[in-house]
Symmetry: C2
Subunit: 221 residues, 2 copies
Amino acid sequence: MFKKVLIAEDLGWNTKKIEQQLFEKGAEEIVITEYCDDAHLKFLKALRDENPFDLLIADLSFEQDHREQTLKEGSDLIAKIREYPTPIKIIVFSMEERLQRIRSLFEEQNIDAYVFKSRTSLEDLSSALETVEHNKRFISPQVAAALDKRQSLDIENYDILLLKKLSDGCSNKEISDEFKKNAIRPSSISSIEKRLNRLRILFKANNAVHLVAVVKDLGLI
Amino acid sequence: MFKKVLIAEDLGWNTKKIEQQLFEKGAEEIVITEYCDDAHLKFLKALRDENPFDLLIADLSFEQDHREQTLKEGSDLIAKIREYPTPIKIIVFSMEERLQRIRSLFEEQNIDAYVFKSRTSLEDLSSALETVEHNKRFISPQVAAALDKRQSLDIENYDILLLKKLSDGCSNKEISDEFKKNAIRPSSISSIEKRLNRLRILFKANNAVHLVAVVKDLGLI
DNA sequence: TTAAGCCTTACGGAATTCCGTAAGGCTTTG
DNA sequence: CAAAGCCTTACGGAATTCCGTAAGGCTTAA
């Protein structure tokens, strides 16, 4: 059972029920932070004191306010924490429903569970805690499709970059020039056209406008 | 002071603090619903019983689950409730941060307050309650720009429709044909080009792709 | 080493978007 | 009513995107 738990959630006023549930399940110490930077500091301190956390429950989106933050959102915090070789488990607790985003949390950030904030999320969280404790991954059923292999479109970082440039209003020529300057390959207009064509087919888009609209909805950019 | 309050919020587990605050401010009856349809029914019943609610606090986004709903999101509920001639006040309590969306809540739906869910939203809600009680409007400072007149780009429904079509992958020709079929004017390709050109200038977009990306970010479509 | 396969690039033409000009119609105003 | 102003539409040319073909280079496998 998780004894020492760190919670990062900017809406601190709605963590009461979660705390309660954790205590019921045997947690002994719960630390709640409203900023990712704070969470990171608490994490580091516990590590140095050789009394590390064994669970992090983190939201993804944190509102930016006047306090300048290094880690601006949950995924920054997770990336930072994964730099340290500790067996801490990570449960993400968020309203994010774009499957590609959730997918990359598991694949790139190696999280242990994703609990989707919903009417049933308290039950989901309970399941997540039990599943993660047995070293298995958990994902809320509403977004389980995120791990479906059939959803696995092989999109590379190059494609993401390309789509971002496109959505920033760059013409193919401009993208080509910039790629050449930055030694990103392939960089010819022709190759860029070919890539975009492939992406259009992949996402069943009629044209570049449509393509950008679709990938924006998917949360790819 | 608000005696009878209706709350519509699908994350029912995080309304505890809100309830508490309402009771402290003199509320006598608080009804919490997790679905817009339920909220509508409760509202109607209270109206029929001649013991109507004097305040609605509603979220905007409601997760769709297996239960089939007529009113799918908060704005549907608000629109429905505004059909009845009752002096009920409406406070929207949401994470939506796209200014155009918030703007239209005040302008089209005639809401009384918008409280942005954040670290400080309990304080904001408190202010909102007091302000609304004096028949004035309240908006959380983080999104106050939504009511800034300078933000008031005069975009018509026609423009929105046009942008939607564009983001759906229609070519200018296809949009023209469809507008002609549906007697939407202007419908010529030339006029559509001119409109899009105007929108591109308005939103400082380089081309159609950029334009769609920008208005999607703004929440206009 | 040679053949096959894949990737990158070049090129050209069709389609579409972008942009300026101008004609015709409708409304407003004096 | 006439003039002015705005809106819609048409048209044409430049720029860009879309799409097919093909050449050249690099890697892989026999």
